[in-house]
């Protein structure tokens, strides 16, 4: 146990004055800015709190919409809301709950607590988190605000065409949904990248993969799921907007399209999303249960099984939302089988929690109460889930209130209650004071009773045949009493939520600070001092157990005395440790960027482009896009791949670590790699679209009367892009050999070839006269060509960026992050080109 002995050896940390000076320097470096500049903060503790507060606000907003729905349905023939406004209300209720609350709150909470759970001073890309937050805020306000102008989306939260592609039946609301949410999805993917790299590379030294807190396991799984689940929706959004704006007939059966493709793309996103929402909430329970059982979790490996297993299986369930679309029974049966199988890992987690509670001495408290309520409600929702996963039962229950009841049991039990448990549990950690136990218990019972009174009767309402999404119902159908009971319950539930809201918002300055580690937990986030300090962690500790605060002797004292890594900020820079993936060996001292308004500016400009596009204001869209691009380049130029003043730094305990690493060792390379995985899954969805259309066109795809783009132009595009890719690899080699002249030469060659490749690819369908509005085949070819050409365009911008960096001596043989990351991008651009060319040029030759 030499690692444990090391901090206790005599050192300069014995001197209190020395420690005081260190603390002062750390405080100064990590200080939250005051006044107006407060909003320039990028540190996780600030951004995370804003993020959480904003998504909770959207929760209240969407909850108010829910109450409007219940008020309207309280009595038959009610005229509280008009039919059209009711459509907006229920659509926005679902949309805001899912996109503006359930998913963002995962990112928000993770940004607040993950760095502390890993004893990192910050996540590796704090500015990216801030960018994500501002994007989320703007997009969320835009989407929600639309209802005040009677312009909210009204086609249901899953926006099925052909209703929503019909511009006479759905107004601008559909565009608000598509563009506002696409913008937020981009922010979600950014957060996923941040969280994956954070979990894999920012753990404290010694925290091997088998010691990682379970919360981090869940974050890893969920963030990976986001990478595969959100891009298909973005791809779907692109097809959808192209149909709405330019009349490309992807979902129009008259011209060869198929509305079912949207359902596939939506639910390939939508079903995993349910687990993206559920798993992080369960992750909170995985932290809360051991604390209140006062013992380590039983079955750590089983939780990992459950998290990883659910992550995979959840991608094989999507068609169970489409059981009534007329697909062959055999297709339905696969999804039915997988839907039953996913109950296994889901159940395992519940049993692990129950076993841990049985084996420990349970301390009853408000968080524990919410946790137990969550388990009860969720298990009930899970059981009705097993019922609707059976196709014959689903045919009966589909689109009735039975499904409404089921989904609320899973989401409220699986997500809202655990989140409230987490709120009461982590509030003292984030805000330094405890919430009231008495109010908490009131809130719990109001919510628990109110919830069941609202949603339990809905099972019966549904089985009696009341359909979803109807703004009213006639008398005498047996729905009256049930609906009235549900409405009363909803208001009781809302009262509980109001109690919590009051508890959170009530002034607490007279209340004493919570004591440190007030729940006597064992994990690292509870090292945080009260009153809190801005530095995140005093020092980055060496971890040798799963619950260091319980199991490592003198741990807190050594931590407070700064006897581990990075106890100081001598150079006045924000720093954190980067460690290896499996064993968390320290490999780099990462300088993380500080506060800036640049991210806010970039987010608002990017948002401006999306919003302008909603109103079909093309000039403005283009101007905003250019401004957004410039602002992002400016941000990258000023804030990334900064050359440090020295090569190495003594991080304490006699360890020297490099300040600058590149290639696969660097966090930036990992971020690029992970982003491109997400990009690939969006591309795969477009390719899926092509082959989907091929399967449904019995007479051949391309249709026999249409000539495709031919082989020549796509072939030429492939050849030019291959050459461009090769030139990029030669540029990287030239840079490594420290030959700046030949680096620049190859960069120019690569950029020119890529321009040629993109142009040739677009020329193919143009030359053969493919009209994207005529039939779905030309539209699909055009989409693939444009997607690929845009990637080449982005590659050219990156290449020119490298050229400029080289000219400014910011890219050299020694400091070469940029060229490695750009070369990595080019690998993926090359794959995109190869697959596109093979699909549009070669596939028609071998298959009809």
């Amino acid at each position: 146990m030499s690692a444990l002995d090391a901090p206790r050896a005599p050192s300069q940390q014995d001197d209190p004055e020395h420690r005081k000076a260190q603390e002062d320097r750390l405080e100064k470096v990590w200080e939250t800015p005051g006044g107006f500049r407060y909003w320039s903060a990028v540190n996780n503790s600030d951004v995370g709190i804003w993020y959480t507060a904003t998504s909770l606000f959207f929760f209240l907003f969407a909850g108010a919409l829910g109450l409007m729905i219940r008020t309207q349905l309280a009595v038959p023939g009610n005229d509280f809301l008009s039919a059209t406004f009711y459509n907006q209300v229920f659509t926005l209720h679902g949309t805001a709950m899912m996109f503006l609350f359930a998913v963002p709150i995962f990112e928000a909470v993770a940004i607040v607590i993950l760095p502390q759970i890993l004893a990192a001073r910050d996540l590796p890309f704090p500015r990216l988190s801030a960018f994500g937050y501002w994007s989320f805020l703007l997009g969320g306000v835009f989407v929600c605000g639309s209802i005040f102008f009677d312009a909210a989306p009204d086609g249901g939260w899953f926006m099925y065409p052909p209703l929503t592609t019909d511009e006479k039946q759905t107004g601008i609301g559909a565009d608000v949904w598509l563009l506002g949410l696409s913008f937020i999805e981009v922010a979600s993917i950014a957060a996923a990248v941040e969280l994956i790299v954070g979990t894999l590379k920012c753990r404290p030294p010694g925290m091997r993969i088998n010691l990682m807190p379970l919360y981090a396991w869940y974050v890893l799984v969920v963030a990976a799921m986001i990478l595969f689940a959100f891009p298909p929706l973005i791809a779907g959004d692109i097809l959808f907007e192209l149909e709405r704006m330019f009349d490309w007939p992807f979902f129009d059966p008259k011209r060869g399209g198929d509305p079912l493709l949207w359902q596939h793309l939506f639910w390939i996103f939508g079903h995993p999303e349910v687990y993206i929402v559920f798993l992080p909430a369960i992750a909170l329970l995985a932290m809360i249960v051991p604390t209140f059982a006062q013992r380590p979790i039983l079955g750590y490996s089983w939780i990992v099984l459950a998290a990883v297993g659910t992550g995979f299986l959840s991608f094989g369930l999507w068609v169970h939302h489409m059981f009534t679309t007329g697909l062959p029974s055999i297709s339905l049966a696969f999804f039915s089988a997988a839907s039953e199988a996913v109950a296994i890992p889901t159940g395992v987690q519940i049993f692990v929690f129950i076993a841990t509670l049985l084996a420990g001495r349970v301390v009853y408290s408000t968080p524990m109460l919410f946790a137990l309520g969550a388990l009860g409600i969720f298990v009930f929702g899970g059981l009705t889930g097993v019922m609707v996963a059976l196709a014959p039962f689903d045919w009966q229950a589909h689109d009735t209130y039975f499904v409404v009841a089921h989904l609320h049991y899973t989401l409220v039990g699986g997500m809202v209650f655990p989140l409230m448990a987490g709120l009461y549990y982590f509030y003292p950690f984030a805000m330094e004071r405890k919430l009231s136990d008495r109010l908490g218990k009131w809130a719990f019972w109001l919510m628990f009773v109110g919830f069941n009174v609202t949603f339990l009767p809905m099972h019966v309402t549904g089985l009696r045949g009341m359909p979803r999404r109807v703004f009213t119902y006639a008398e005498g159908l047996g729905f009256e009493t049930l609906n009235m009971v549900s409405t009363l319950g909803a208001f009781v539930f809302a009262a509980g939520v109001l109690v919590i809201t009051f508890d959170v918002l009530r002034p607490k300055s007279k209340q004493p600070h919570a004591e440190r580690n007030c729940w006597n937990a064992g994990t690292l986030e509870w090292l945080s001092e009260t009153p809190g300090r801005d530095w995140g962690v005093r020092t980055v500790p060496i971890v040798t157990t799963r619950y260091p605060l319980w199991d490592q002797p003198n741990f807190v004292r050594d931590y407070d005395e700064g006897r581990f890594y990075l106890p100081d900020a001598e150079e006045g820079k924000r720093e954190t440790l980067i460690t290896s993936v499996l064993d968390a060996r320290p490999i780099q001292c990462l300088r993380v960027p500080g506060n800036t308004f640049m991210t806010m500016g970039a987010a608002f400009l990017t948002g401006g482009a999306f919003i302008a596009a909603t109103f079909y204001a093309w000039t403005l869209t283009i101007l905003f896009s250019i401004a957004a691009l410039v602002s992002i380049l400016f941000w990258l130029w000023r804030g990334t791949a900064i050359i440090p003043e020295k090569k190495e730094k003594d991080v304490g305990l006699g360890l020297k670590l490099p300040l600058y690493v590149s290639g696969p060792d660097s966090v930036g390379w990992w971020a690029m790699f992970i982003t491109m995985i997400g990009d690939m899954s969006a591309f795969a969805s477009l390719i899926f679209g092509y082959f989907f259309y091929w399967t449904i066109h019995a007479t051949g795809f391309p249709p026999s009367d249409t000539a495709g783009p031919g082989v020549f132009w796509p072939g030429l595009a492939f050849a030019l892009t291959s050459a461009s890719w090769g030139a990029m690899l030669l540029a990287r080699r030239a840079n490594t050999a420290d030959k700046p002249l030949s680096l620049n030469l190859w960069l120019v060659v690569s950029a020119l070839l890529a321009v040629g490749g993109g142009a040739a690819l677009l020329w193919g369908p143009h030359a053969s006269g493919l009209d994207p509005t005529a039939h779905v085949y030309p539209a699909t070819v055009w989409v693939l060509a444009i997607w690929t050409a845009i990637h080449l365009g982005v590659g050219v911008i990156m290449t020119l960026y490298c050229l400029a960096r080289s000219a400014a001596r910011k890219l050299t043989a020694e400091y070469d992050i940029d060229i490695h990351n750009v070369a990595l991008f080019w690998h993926f651009a090359m794959i995109t080109m190869a697959v596109t060319a093979a699909t549009i040029a070669l596939f028609p030759l071998v298959a009809r």
Binding site: G316, P328, A338, I344
Partner: protein, 131 residues
């Protein structure tokens, strides 16, 4: 990465990845086959439903292959688990602790994947045509 004396995150997810690929093969084979043979909306014409013997054969082969690969994963994971002679809960701060943890978790995931593959293959036993 996949076949390795040291357990890692790739060996951990190999079995569920095999499940996912098996799932895709089953679904794509059956649904593409049925979509291609039924594009004339047979349900309205009264002709019989096309049978899916070919798709069933492909699914059977894919299932045998998938179970075989998962069995190999299981054997490897078993080796990882037993190599270090550590007991649950695998929380030693050592290579053996990590190896035991990853090995054991992989065994669990192999078990889940085997169940998943069999579940997903079952429809092909019971359903013989495109109805």
């Amino acid at each position: 990465m996949i076949a390795s004396t040291r357990a890692n995150l790739v060996t951990l997810i190999t079995a569920p990845t095999v499940w996912a690929l098996h799932f895709l093969v089953c679904y794509v084979t059956a649904s593409a086959y049925c979509a291609k043979t039924m594009a004339d909306a047979r349900v309205f014409t009264g002709t019989s439903w096309p049978d899916i013997t070919v798709a069933r054969a492909v699914i059977a082969a894919a299932t045998v292959l998938a179970l075989g690969i998962i069995a190999l994963c299981l054997r490897q994971a078993w080796g990882h688990w037993r190599s270090g002679d550590v007991d649950p809960p695998f929380d030693e701060p050592s290579f053996e602790g990590r190896q035991g943890f990853l090995g054991f978790s992989t065994i669990l995931l192999c078990g889940l994947s085997i169940i998943g593959v069999i579940f997903v293959a079952l429809p092909a036993i019971f359903i013989g045509d495109c109805r």
